[in-house]
């Protein structure tokens, strides 16, 4: 990632950033003093000092809370994929491995981005928790024991994390409405999580196993998890609704829209409390 790249990325997040920084030239100059090329590790720092100038208004504690909540979820996902890729013999070489490398790259980037953003806004990023991906609350012998040796189980947990992540960001969007730049970035992460979810579901569609129930499509039908475990059900409950803003979507205006279609067409949010309850067994 070079300097121009960083500037371009910031500009995408906030097209008005240069006005906030008294122009592109000034922004470029202040960053240029830091050297032509950044090591990835220094990006948060450079971004942080740059963004601090741009957003001198004090953000609400609520926005920082949301960002730290998101960071916790991104830590969870990033470590899950980093460990999965490091577990020998878990992820098959070829398409599957390449897909999880892409997903891991994004989740790690989200961690870096959120830390930088929280710091830039004057907040304190939460520390990475210790995780137990067996869902054993630290026993490392929970119901998903074998998650890093049984690929079908790994896929099921991955799908649950991604679908939950989509619902988690969606549930927080309203709390970010006072900050255009933060809301936009959150939405830009949200849709990436949805792309991941769709692909992990596609992998499961193509790979029948005892853990795959029915036919996982890229979208969520009713409250079907397509996973043979009742433990993941809270991540899917509520997805079955067919009323939106008081409007019934089933058969809307005479069109043949079934309740399955209606549920698939709209993803549903989860509250922070619901998400924390879902991830609690994974966090020591």
């Amino acid at each position: 990632m070079n300097l121009h790249n960083v500037i371009d990325q910031i500009e995408k997040v906030d097209p008005e950033v240069y006005e906030r920084l008294n122009g592109r030239r000034a922004a470029m100059k202040s960053l240029a003093n830091l050297g032509g090329k950044f090591a990835l590790a220094t990006v948060p720092l450079a971004l942080g000092s740059l963004l601090k100038k741009a957003y001198s208004q004090t953000p609400s504690a609520q926005i920082l809370d949301v960002l730290n909540f998101a960071l916790t979820l991104e830590y969870l996902e990033a470590e899950f994929y980093n460990k999965g890729l490091a577990a020998s013999g878990l992820i098959p070489a070829g398409d599957d491995r390449m897909a999880f490398e892409v997903i891991a790259k994004h989740e790690n980037a989200h961690v870096v981005f959120l830390i930088a953003t929280i710091k830039a806004l004057g907040g304190e990023p939460v520390k990475k928790p210790t995780f137990d991906f067996t869902a054993g609350n630290g026993s490392n012998a929970g119901p998903f024991a074998g998650v890093f040796s049984n690929y079908d189980l790994y896929l099921a947990v991955s799908q649950t994390f991604e679908d939950t992540g989509v619902r988690a960001y969606k549930g927080q969007a309203g709390f970010l409405i006072s900050s255009n730049a933060v809301l936009r970035a959150a939405l830009q992460i949200h849709s990436v999580e949805a792309r991941h979810a769709a692909h992990v579901r596609e992998i499961r569609y193509r790979r029948p196993s005892a853990l795959v129930v029915g036919m996982p499509l890229p979208w969520i039908t009713l409250n079907n998890s397509n996973i043979a475990s009742p433990l993941v059900q809270p991540s899917y409950n509520g997805e079955e609704i067919t009323m939106q803003a008081g409007i019934q979507i089933v058969g809307i205006n005479g069109f043949e829209i079934t309740k399955e279609d209606a549920s698939e067409a709209f993803d549903e949010p989860l509250t922070k409390a619901q998400v924390l309850a879902i991830v609690d067994p994974f966090i020591v």
Partner: protein, 237 residues
């Protein structure tokens, strides 16, 4: 140049329209179809006189949150009309799975379109006319390539529009739809090239998807939309 799928899109294609059409509904459909035909006729006349000029009938998306919802309604009309045409006669060699995915997406987009229409009520813009003449509906590459472009465009449009909304309720509704558009985008991209669900062309080095402003989106969609759209009253921040 006007695509006759516009009237299909209004009346519902065979197989989509299920419930019996009431007498009142029939006449409202017939009226709309007639208007569409007139639009098509006037468009053709325009072609002869000036192929680059669009028909004068224009729609104003409006201002505030309703303007943004109309903007979303316009994009959902575009997507729904496209997938209805795709589903009316699938491209050569379409597999059962591809047909299933494209039919699912078609119904999702119709659900989105009709949802916005009802939610907007009297504030809703009318039915837009589309020009899909640049698409070869018999060609897998052309259809899936266009689907990919539309889905990625839709994702970027919702990502850019969220901040323009004042109401948290509408923001949540947009959020409910955009992740489904992202699922579509990933699925279509995987059909074209397996593993391309979140390519570097749409997800940047920070792990962020594309966000576009309404003028950016409408400039890209313009080649498919015959009806002139006035977006000048939309909020900009």
């Amino acid at each position: 140049m006007t695509d006759n799928s516009t009237s299909q899109n209004l009346a519902g294609p065979a197989g989509i329209e299920k419930s019996p059409v009431s007498r009142r509904k029939f006449f409202s459909y017939a009226g709309l179809s007639a208007a569409t035909l007139m639009g098509a006729a006037s468009c053709k006349k325009f072609d002869i006189e000036n192929p680059f000029e669009k028909p004068k009938e224009a729609v104003d998306l409006g201002s505030g949150d309703f303007g943004i919802l109309n903007y979303a309604y316009a994009l959902e009309q575009l997507e729904a009309a496209f997938y209805i045409k795709v589903g009316a006669s699938f491209y050569d060699g379409a597999t059962a799975k591809e047909k299933m995915y494209l039919s699912d997406v078609q119904r999702h987009e119709i659900a989105h379109r009709e949802f916005f229409k009802n939610a907007l009520g009297s504030k809703a813009i009318g039915a837009l006319k589309f020009d899909f003449s640049s698409i070869d509906f018999k060609s897998r590459a052309s259809v899936l390539g266009t689907a990919k472009a539309f889905e990625d465009l839709g994702v970027s449009a919702y990502n850019g529009a969220g901040e323009l909304l004042e109401s948290a309720t509408y923001l949540l509704l947009a959020g409910k739809i955009v992740s489904v558009e992202a699922r579509h985008a990933a699925a279509i991209r995987d059909l074209i090239k397996y593993g391309d669900f979140a390519g570097d062309d749409v997800v940047n080095a920070m792990g962020l998807d594309v966000a576009r402003t309404p003028p950016q989106v409408l400039a890209i969609a313009d080649k498919y939309i015959v009806t002139k759209i006035n977006a000048s009253n939309l909020p900009t921040s």
